[in-house]
Amino acid sequence: MQAFKAYFRILKKQLPAILIYCALFVGITAISASNQKGNGSVQFNLTKVPIAIDNNDTENEFIEGFLQYVEKYADFVELKDSDEARSDALFFREVEYIITIPEGFTEEFLAGGEVSLMKQSIPDSTVAISVDRAVNNYLNTAQTYLKYMPEISEKELNKFVLQNLSNETKVSIDRYQKEEKENTNSYYQFFFNTLAYVIVCCFIIGVSTVMLSFSNIDIRRRNLVTPISNRKINLQLILANFIFVMGFLLLFLFAGYLSNPDKGINTNTILFWVNIFTFALTVLSLSYLIGITVKSKKAISALSTSVSLGLAFISGAFVPQEFLGESVLKVASFTPTYWYVRANDAIAALTSFRWDDIYEILGFMAIQIGFAAAIISIALVVSKRKSQQAY
């Protein structure tokens, strides 16, 4: 098993780089995971928009009542009291809507004058429309009261308006799947999609660097004169590659399990695992091909970064596929990562496991295997040519 041992001895030197990627990935996933909101709750909750209020008017009962109503649809965020702080917060979505109440607003409004509030928002956004409605709803109702009951006091006005506006529609959640399984799945969907980037990057660095060392012409000549047959050396290398890949995968499956807040394993989870296994085989073949074609280590680092980032961005590993343009997805469908991510998304949405449901996902995995086979065939041709050149 000399070749097998030599493989891991060379790999050990790449370990720091690979471990840095692993640690970075787990760290980023942990941060992002805390932002992952599962919406599998069986109870309906209003979605609140983060907003800021810049009140230049006096603090009075009318404004209080108004804000009390708006708070049903919005979360108030305290910001530093400067225009710059508010504009920055809006740009970076710390708040998505800023209301400026002008000086003398209450007095003017109660007197029936023409008044308006200034807003800063993301133009034409759904959030802006949600807050607009809440604000206008309150002020329109209050205006009607003022018109028909001119003697009404501020306190009474607030009471009536809030009373009327507390009249609510009954909302029920109606879906086939009522369990809170979605949380586990949405976490894994995110985790495994991002893993596509890390796997490609680490496998190319690991596998290609080792294979590069073995494909060096002097080493190959040296290996040819050993009493071990070429076939045996190759078999040992294949085994070593396979073990590296599996070890790496297990490490991540474990990390994924530990970092998942739900710690659940269901049929979906197992399908996720099968999918990442298929993908790993494809990436392994790709790394092997790169390893026997490139000529220098520097080229490997350039290739590993470009290939992994490029594939991850266009295939939806970072940004969900639904947000990508149609033409981007068309191009991406010529890469295995696209089919891997598609399978992941389909698995996450899976609620029943009849043959008809799983059939499509198995198809996506088969396409990945197809890619692996194609890449391996190219690698075999390249390697045959190289061995002929060696003499």
Binding site: D124, I129, N136, N137, T169, L309
Partner: protein, 377 residues
């Protein structure tokens, strides 16, 4: 003589394939990836007509149906696209994801949704306000029975808008920060070139450095020529990336291209001198120094929002000092303030600190390199 040295170094740098790839091709590749991945994110925030289904028992006299059909999001864009069907059919549509919600009943409408979300909240708010109208009418009539004759119903149905967008504000397009920080990162990436220049000239760092030290050329003169050559080649990469972002990807940089250009050049200079200073003053093996520089660069890019846009805001909010000493953030913030703000105060602050850093790093490198002689290495 100086020009000859400059030309020779220029050729040398252009032949360094690795550096050329990272500076010229990689940022363009990354910008393309950003463009494809993020260009739809803003569209995703934009409002689109909400798809709902409606099952009403009373088809004759249906005020709710009318209200739903008339509801508008903005002028000309209707709020709802309605499918009329029975509850069973609506349930199927909901679970297949074709609609966001369905409403049953016209007098006492009930809403069915699949999950909690913004669209669902808007539908509920709409139905609520519909119900609330009758409550308002009831309360007013109790207190003022004459109101009905004075046009109360019309007034209740009337919906006036009280909020107006502040004029002259730029669109807060968050995706721009990705491109700004990428350009800033590329500027500061010049530090790798500055780093190499010091390696090549210091006798204890490379054989070439040792060779140069015994040559009759003045070391500082050669170093300046080399740095100028590195600056020239690196500026080329920035102009290329900027041209690509501006003309091909149509990234909005505001109207002050001159200022943008100055920022890029000062940024590139800061990068060069930063790399040189790190290489001169850190006494480790080359690989370790390279790793430290890389961590500074990537960390700087991360903190200025290249990987996660909100990071830039979090840093500015929680650790304000860090935003002023991180050169990648200074450049990103300069681009951002040129785009987003009408005044130049913030831009000038950023650019002054950046220039200050460039001078500081330059002086540090000079002190470290000058008059360094070796009896033996």
């Amino acid at each position: 003589m100086s020009f000859l040295l400059y030309k020779a170094r220029l050729k040398c740098l252009l032949h360094n394939k690795e550096n050329m790839f990272w500076c010229y091709l990689f940022p363009i590749m990354l910008a393309t990836c950003f463009y494809f991945a993020f260009s739809n994110l803003v569209i995703e925030e934009e409002f689109a007509t909400i798809k709902i289904a409606y099952d009403n028992e009373d088809t004759e006299n249906d005020a709710l149906k009318e209200a739903i059909n008339q509801a508008e999001m903005t002028e000309g864009t209707s709020m709802f696209a309605v499918t009329y069907c029975d509850k069973e059919e609506a349930n199927k549509l909901l679970n297949s994801g074709e609609i966001d919600a369905y409403i049953v009943g016209s007098n006492n409408p009930e809403l069915f949704v699949m999950r909690s979300g913004l669209n669902e909240t808007i539908i509920k708010a709409f139905l609520d306000s519909y119900r609330q109208m009758s409550a308002t009418v009831e309360t007013i009539l109790k207190n003022n029975p004459e109101a009905m004759n004075n046009g109360l119903l019309e007034d209740v149905m009337q919906y006036e808008s009280f909020v107006y967008e502040e004029k002259g504000k730029k669109n807060p397009d968050i995706v721009l920060v990705y491109f700004y920080s990428l350009l800033a990162f590329t500027c500061i990436f010049a530090s790798n070139w500055g780093f190499d220049e010091v390696i090549c000239i210091q006798a204890d760092q490379s054989f070439r450095g040792a060779r140069i030290n015994v040559s009759p050329i003045h070391k500082m003169k050669l170093f300046l020529c080399n740095m100028t050559a590195a600056f020239t080649v690196h500026s080329g990469s920035i102009i290329l990336l900027f041209g690509y972002l501006f003309f091909a990807l149509k990234v909005d940089f505001g109207d002050n291209l001159g200022y943008i250009f100055i920022t890029c050049l000062i940024g590139s200079l800061t990068g060069l001198t930063l790399g040189a200073a790190v290489c001169v003053w850190l006494k480790f093996k080359r690989e370790v120094k390279e790793a430290i520089l890389l961590i500074v660069l990537m960390g700087g890019a991360f903190l200025s929002g290249m990987m996660m846009v909100q990071m830039k805001y979090i840093v500015a909010d929680k650790i304000p000092l860090l935003r002023y000493i991180n050169p990648v953030n200074l450049i990103t913030d300069a681009f951002y303030s040129l785009y987003y703000y009408e005044t130049y105060d913030r831009y000038l602050l950023n650019i002054s600190i950046l220039g200050g850093l460039a001078i500081l790093f330059g002086i540090l490198s000079y002190i470290g390199i000058r008059r360094r002689d070796y009896a033996s290495i």
